[in-house]
Symmetry: C2
Subunit: 435 residues, 2 copies
């Protein structure tokens, strides 16, 4: 994406404006905002939800089971009936490639990796891991939450009464020095990680960060990293981004029981009707499989079969993801170009330029995030609640906004981002003028 450098250079930073200049600007911005408000828009950039255009590329799944005799997988299993707790062998192989483990370590489940993660935390609470006491009976357990992070992760731990401990994210992933200090506390039982195109920061963990995470030596034997590789193959640039294999790194150090790996096709095939998978060490798998053997007689193998047929190889999958990229990249570019053009020169906000994933992480002036979200809402645009990417929904600086450009169409995104730019300016000016 190209920024009109000349235009940006023409902008004067708000911090360099006189009060009179600020007042004039505010008056112009207010006018602009009221114009937007009068349009009666209904826009939504709140969730990382693929748009209908993206889902259309997966409609091939509808015709993957053809006719009455077409329900067997490569090993001849009748996918209509009960059984097969670990999932179809084809998909175990494919997910093993994605997650960088052996296919025997993969369990393929239903439509939701979130559900798998919830169940794993539930299992920690009621049964514990690695022979340790159930977390609920230990009491006072804590979970590390790199911030900003995925609200639904934090919500699971909160639901189970775990204390959420924020860990700062930097350009290369979570601050592992801080983590190393925190895990000296035996009550700290785990950490959530979205290691590639993190939600919402868009960060790909560096090799060093992955290695340092693998090398952690938590006081708690039942400390488990929830490695949610949700965007494993979800880059939208021409070159692929590299993520070091966490399992291999852990294994080198005998730490393979520390990590539980998750992924899904929610943002590959259909968000609500995809297939989720987990990978784990033999010891963890034994724990997880034992629970699952009581919980269900098996996953929906027909939906697995559809996926196995649509995506036979990693190359199929990569070709498919190019189609998503072709839809997503222009959407991200639209938002970023407008922000770069309209806001970048003002010194009141910053944002990342992600190479994949579903979010742009916007930092507005401290104390302005809630106000920006409220202003947008008043003018008909829903953003993720300010603070959502933080434990308990509280952003201590009130400066972070998660922007999700995937669902709206490009023309809608244009309006939405124009409005967002106005709201960012509005909130900043309000703040500056009160001082």
């Amino acid at each position: 994406m190209k920024i009109q450098v000349s235009e940006v250079d023409l902008m004067k930073k708000y911090s360099e404006m006189t009060k009179a200049e600020l007042e004039a600007e505010f008056s112009a911005v207010k006018k602009e905002y009221n114009e937007w408000k009068s349009r009666g828009l209904t826009l939504d950039m709140s969730r990382g939800k693929p748009g209908p255009d993206q889902m259309d590329v997966s409609n091939i799944l509808f015709s993957m089971i053809k006719g009455d005799e077409d329900y067997r997988n490569v090993s001849g299993i009748d996918c209509r009936n009960y059984g097969g707790l670990a999932g179809l062998i084809e998909l175990r192989g494919l997910f093993a490639e994605i997650m960088g483990v052996d296919s025997t370590q993969v369990m393929v489940g239903g439509n939701s990796s979130l559900n798998m993660m919830f169940d794993v935390i539930a299992q920690g609470m009621s049964h514990g891991f690695g022979g340790c006491k159930p977390w609920l009976l230990q009491g006072g357990t804590k979970m590390l939450c790199p911030v900003p992070g995925y609200d639904r992760h934090f919500a699971i731990a909160e639901y189970f009464g775990m204390e959420l401990i924020p860990v700062p994210m930097n350009e290369e992933g979570p601050d592992v020095e801080v983590v190393a200090e925190l895990i000296k506390d035996e009550k700290v039982k785990g950490m959530f990680c979205v290691p590639k195109y993190s939600n919402p920061g868009g960060i790909v963990y560096s090799d060093e960060v992955v290695r340092n995470i693998a090398a952690l030596t938590p006081a708690a034997k039942d400390f488990r990293i929830i490695w949610d590789n949700a965007y494993a193959i979800h880059g939208f640039e021409d070159t692929e981004d590299h993520l070091l294999n966490i399992y291999e790194e852990c294994k080198k150090l005998g730490h393979e029981d520390m990590v539980l790996i998750f992924t899904s096709t929610s943002k590959i095939s259909f968000p609500g009707a995809g297939v989720a998978a987990l990978a784990a060490s033999p010891a963890n798998l034994a724990d997880l499989e034992r629970r699952m053997s009581f919980q269900t007689i098996g996953p929906d193998k027909l939906n697995q079969l559809r996926h196995a047929r649509a995506f036979k190889t990693m190359d199929d999958l990569k070709a498919h993801m190019k189609r998503h990229a072709a839809i997503l990249k222009p959407k991200f570019d639209t938002v970023l170009e407008i922000l770069d053009k309209k806001v970048a020169g003002l010194g009141i906000a910053e944002w990342n330029h992600p190479r994949g994933g579903y979010f742009i992480n916007l930092q507005v002036m401290n104390g302005c995030a809630k106000r920006v979200v409220a202003l947008c809402k008043e003018a008909g645009m829903v953003l993720t609640a300010a603070g959502a990417p933080f434990p308990y929904g509280i952003d201590p600086d009130d400066s972070n906004i998660r922007v999700a450009p995937s669902y709206p169409l490009v023309p809608e995104l244009k309006s939405a981002t124009e409005l967002l730019a106005v709201a960012i300016k509005y909130a900043a000016l309000e703040k500056l003028l009160v001082k």
Copy 2:
């Protein structure tokens, strides 16, 4: 089914035979058994698993989503995307009819009602019900298990460390007087019920039993009945069997929070790829929905859509179930005719003649069930492990065997039951001759 009365009448009861007669009989039975053994059969009557013939009647589901634009339900929802925690409105309505509640009280989920029940017990353990302390923190919780019953129910409670308390079943359902006594103990937190064509007894709870269950006043406020109406419309006789509406009965007495109702299409459409549902009181729903809102972003609505289209009305569903009945009834008849003919006159075993469901409940001589199962296994036929329908897998009389005739084809069932009859006699004679 007709029994050859003359043939049965010709039989002499084993209890009336002299030792010499028993020895002669044993020698003949042994010979017969060895002949079966030499055939090298592989038969399976172990699980209530629909056969391929039954699943074929549901292959219509494969073509319920036609082409690329066909993914919306009646209310226009794009079933491919996230969301819709409670499930599609069409299916909520249909399941409401099956379960006898209002559709607003129904949540339609994924492919497994067992999973739903597991999650409900898990919720009891980690969060509790009705504002009471989590069961895990209360400690020493107990679950009532009508016996013989469904092994997977009992296994869930056992997995969570609950004590399993057997409750005798009689012809009309569980012995409610015994239940009323047991629930004076505040540690008793629930009871499993399969109220129609019970697994494995085939019993339909009488109106009186349902009323008495609804009228229970447990000491524990967080006592919950798991009302697993798995075979709600699974009769195979011409006339329908009636089950009183437990929810209505509970509601009359203000006891509606005591019951959680479950059902699924596992034995209507596809065992592994059906749709499960639960129904509950508003207070219970609030508890359950809260958990689910953390656990998942929604069920697989495309599979729900397939079901909603295949089964639009209760009449569709009933017509569909007639097709199952036409396959199942001859299978049950085959088993029952052979047992009636070959064993009924000997006074060494009893069994029920179910009008629906998936099981025949066979009572052999005390101390003989394991032996019968072992003899069958040795000759190539797998039966459900003796004792499985009892808490901890222990049948105190060692007399109960669950027979599941649904999966094999009729000719296989003939062989299987002939063999079973021989094994019943073999084990009885062994026992009688040792005395």
